[in-house]
């Protein structure tokens, strides 16, 4: 099972974990990105995520395929959520399974890092003083 998605509803980690389960897997590794109450010293009240959905799904799928060929995964699922998220809510979930723990955790890192730097998703942070700001990396690695 290899699947990427952009969703607007809360991410159901249990369902994803069941979806990624495999009798050949000895290891399941999961990453959840959650909204923090603070960023670079400013108090955050929530984050509005937006995405170029078709491209985000495609780019995340490419990353999962890359991870499968690098690490030999039994399954890999990446889901990014968009919309208004409150503190503690999950914006991204990566769930994968592998026969062995080492490559499972290697693959988790690969998928999370690549998704953060390549998936066309943006966040508008809302601060306690009512201001809002786009947060972003330079994305300098791309052509």
């Amino acid at each position: 099972m290899i699947r990427s998605a952009v969703v607007s509803d809360p991410i159901d980690v249990v369902a994803l974990t069941q979806e990624a389960a495999s009798p050949s897997a000895g290891a399941t590794a999961i990453f959840l990105g959650t909204v923090r109450e603070q960023n670079e010293g400013r108090e955050v009240t929530g984050i509005e995520y937006s995405a170029y959905e078709e491209m985000a799904v495609k780019e995340m799928r490419s990353i999962l395929d890359e991870a499968c060929s690098k690490f030999g995964l039994a399954s890999a699922i990446a889901v990014h959520r968009t919309g208004e998220l409150a503190i503690g809510e999950a914006s991204i979930a990566v769930v994968l399974s592998h026969a062995h723990r080492g490559p499972a955790m290697d693959a988790l890192r690969y998928i999370v890092d690549e998704t953060k730097s390549r998936a066309p998703v943006w966040k508008l942070e809302h601060y306690i003083d009512g201001s809002r700001e786009w947060v972003g990396s330079t994305g300098a690695r791309h052509p």
């Binding site: 078709e54 953060k116 943006w122 972003g136 990396s137 994305g139 052509p143």
Partner: protein
Amino acid sequence: MTVTVRLFASYAQTLGRSAVDIETPEGATVEDVVAAILAMPGGDRLPPRPLVAVNHSYAARGTVIGEGDEVALIPPVAGG
């Protein structure tokens, strides 16, 4: 030909819209499309070399745009 360029996040906010139509000659490249957008009113507030996607993939600056291609400017990403 007319190329529709999609805008997102801070770029959409900067230009006050989510897409712009650009008139380009046949054989126009990503570079040409970016130059046309930067020359629009407000375009000077975009970075000089924004990332561009063609048909949902990151595209090099020399990539030739064809009729019907989906072009988008991609602001610095911040997923996860």
